[in-house]
């Protein structure tokens, strides 16, 4: 399997503070990869670095083999990487449909083609059709998350990065959102799930990476990795856990 997105010795800093110490992660077409780790492990930093929101060297991030590290965020989207940002970051004051249209307009402008249309998205998440004209801020958290995912999908990505999409949502809603994953992947889109919930991450992904203090401490097939291994990688070597 060839990697769609890969990082090579990815290093990122916030000023003098180094947050990532040489991270190697790759995603293949249509694959779901989970990225887990405790708070402050560097998961969100990893996504920010990939999306060009932090300065990184070009060669550290590659899309289909091409160096793209540190490019402007909108260029990343143009090349096929979309993000569902943590905390959703919807455009308040706009209706659900207008929020989605931002992505439709931009995809059209950049000439990105793909299988996602507003109508198809509304078939995937019917609530987006019922609430099309509702201001996004009056939606529930789960519904907002669906808007955020929809917005990212309408950019017609080949790689979808999801930053803690289950955060603060009821288990039932989380299941609803994760149920959409197979259809997204069927499109050939590679999905990276950054998750706090280890069980959920493990069951929803093909492979997983565990990070600790800016380094990858464990990687492997989600079905084969044991809880003990994850526990050790999650909290550091010496802890025997769970």
């Amino acid at each position: 399997m060839t990697a769609v997105l890969s990082t090579h010795g990815l290093i990122a800093r916030y000023g003098d503070f180094q947050a990532l110490y040489g991270v190697d992660i790759d995603l293949a077409e249509g694959e779901a990869v989970a990225l887990i780790g405790a708070n402050g492990a560097g998961k969100s930093t990893f996504l920010r670095a990939v999306m060009g929101l932090l300065r990184v060297a070009p060669d550290m991030v590659r899309l289909k083999g091409q160096p793209i590290g540190g490019m402007a965020t909108d260029r990343m989207v143009q090349m096929g990487i979309s993000i569902v940002p943590e905390g959703r970051r919807l455009f308040t004051g706009m209706s659900v449909e207008d929020n989605l249209r931002v992505a439709v307009d931009q995809a059209q402008r950049m000439g990105r083609k793909g299988g996602w249309s507003l109508a198809r998205l509304q078939a995937l998440f019917p609530i987006l059709k019922d609430k099309a004209r509702t201001p996004v801020e009056s939606l529930s958290g789960g519904q907002q998350q669906m808007v955020a995912i929809g917005r990212a999908l309408l950019c017609q990505p080949s790689v979808l990065l999801c930053d803690e999409i289950s955060l603060g949502l009821a288990p039932k809603v989380i299941r609803e959102i994760y149920a959409a994953l197979p259809e997204i992947r069927a499109q050939g889109t590679a999905v990276m799930l950054v998750e706090q919930d280890v069980g959920l991450a493990q069951s929803a992904s093909d492979r997983l990476y565990c990070m600790l203090e800016g380094r990858v401490t464990l990687s492997g097939r989600s079905a084969e990795v044991t809880r003990d291994q994850i526990g050790a990688a999650y909290f550091g070597g010496s802890h025997a856990v769970v």
Partner: protein, 345 residues
């Protein structure tokens, strides 16, 4: 323009996009009539009325440019008078010093704000929020000081447009009326066209959350730059036209911060991020200026207090309050997806 068919994706139902509303169609018709009425002013209005309308049109143009900057691009400028003065001076120099036809000079003078806006933006674009605002003010003051010290624009004494005496009063009225029509068409019509283009929603998204907008593929940097340059040209046009009507220009009037004050008042009170708000705000300002202008300083205090109250308690301005109650936009920019099988709501 009412509906744009979208090619349906695999297994997706056929849909159309509805963009225009009844209120929008009525407003668009009225807008076209207004532009026509402006152009035909010499045949129905007195010279005094034309001058008053011209001033009104300049207010609308400057306020709308400020609205595009602050309401959409998130660039709060208090120095747009820099480009009004620069274009005004350019027009005076071309017409008075070089003998270019003054009406051609207005068109040519627009190159100056466009060219000046580029280096200004490169100086200012790293500044954020209030720092950006202060920076723009500094730029305007620098422009004023430079013009005060330039011999070939007659320094602090300013210039007069004596070449205008070659034209009869009626000819000047025709020119003023046409300029009003063109100015409104370019600033209001142009903004509306831009907001309805695929940049429109991107612009609103960008104002709301630049990082998230960039994550949806919006080229935030380039859009901001485009808006800044366009607003400079729009303000320049208003400046050229205004000072041509005044027949005099000097540094104090050309780079008068009053223009920024009135733009802020108009947009904040009328309703930020809406064209409707600019029209409402201008009407209020214009009436207030006629009725209470004689009270001088205390009148400005009242305008300032009004702006602050609106900013604190009704951030969307008068238009925001109106549109919350009646969903009848004059310049609709939203689009609605309608399934073919459905009845239009």
């Amino acid at each position: 323009m009412t509906s744009i068919p979208i090619s349906p994706a695999s297994a997706a139902p056929a849909v159309t996009v509805r963009r225009q509303t009844t209120s929008g169609r009525i407003a668009l018709t009225l807008f076209a009539i207004a532009i026509l009425a402006l152009a035909l002013m010499p045949w129905w209005a007195k010279t005094g009325t034309i001058r008053m309308v011209l001033e009104l049109c300049c207010y609308i143009a400057v306020a709308q440019m400020w609205n595009m900057l602050a309401g959409y691009a998130g660039l709060v400028s208090v120095g747009q008078q820099a480009f009004m003065g620069a274009a005004g001076y350019a027009m005076f120099v071309l017409a008075q010093t070089f003998g270019v036809n003054p009406f051609l000079a207005i068109a040519l003078s627009l190159v100056v704000p466009a060219v000046l806006a580029v280096p200004c933006y490169f100086l200012l674009h790293r500044l954020d929020g209030p720092y950006f605002a202060i920076g723009t003010w500094v730029v305007a003051e620098v422009f004023r000081l430079v013009s005060t010290n330039l011999g070939w624009v007659n320094a602090g004494a300013g210039m007069s447009l004596t070449v205008m005496k070659d034209y009869s009063a009626f000819q000047r009225n025709i020119a003023m009326s046409l300029l009003c029509a063109v100015m409104i068409l370019l600033t209001i019509g142009g903004s509306y066209w831009f907001l309805r283009s695929r940049y429109g929603l991107a612009l609103i998204a960008m104002r709301d959350n630049p990082v998230a907008a960039a994550s949806q593929g919006v080229n935030v940097k380039r859009l901001r730059f485009m808006i800044y340059v366009a607003a400079a040209v729009g303000c320049g046009l208003a400046g050229s036209v205004y000072f041509m009507a005044q027949l005099r220009i000097n540094p104090a009037s050309a780079f008068d911060p009053m223009w920024s004050n009135l733009a802020i008042f108009i947009v904040m009170v009328g309703g930020i991020a809406s064209i409707e708000g600019v029209l409402i705000g201008t009407a209020i300002y214009f009436v207030a200026d006629r009725w209470f202008g004689a009270y001088g300083a205390s009148y400005f205090v009242v305008l300032g207090v009004m702006t602050v109250l609106v900013a604190l308690y009704a951030r969307t301005g008068i238009w925001g309050l109106v549109s919350r109650r009646w969903d009848a936009p004059w310049f609709p920019i939203r689009r609605h997806l309608i399934l073919k099988t459905e009845e239009k709501p």
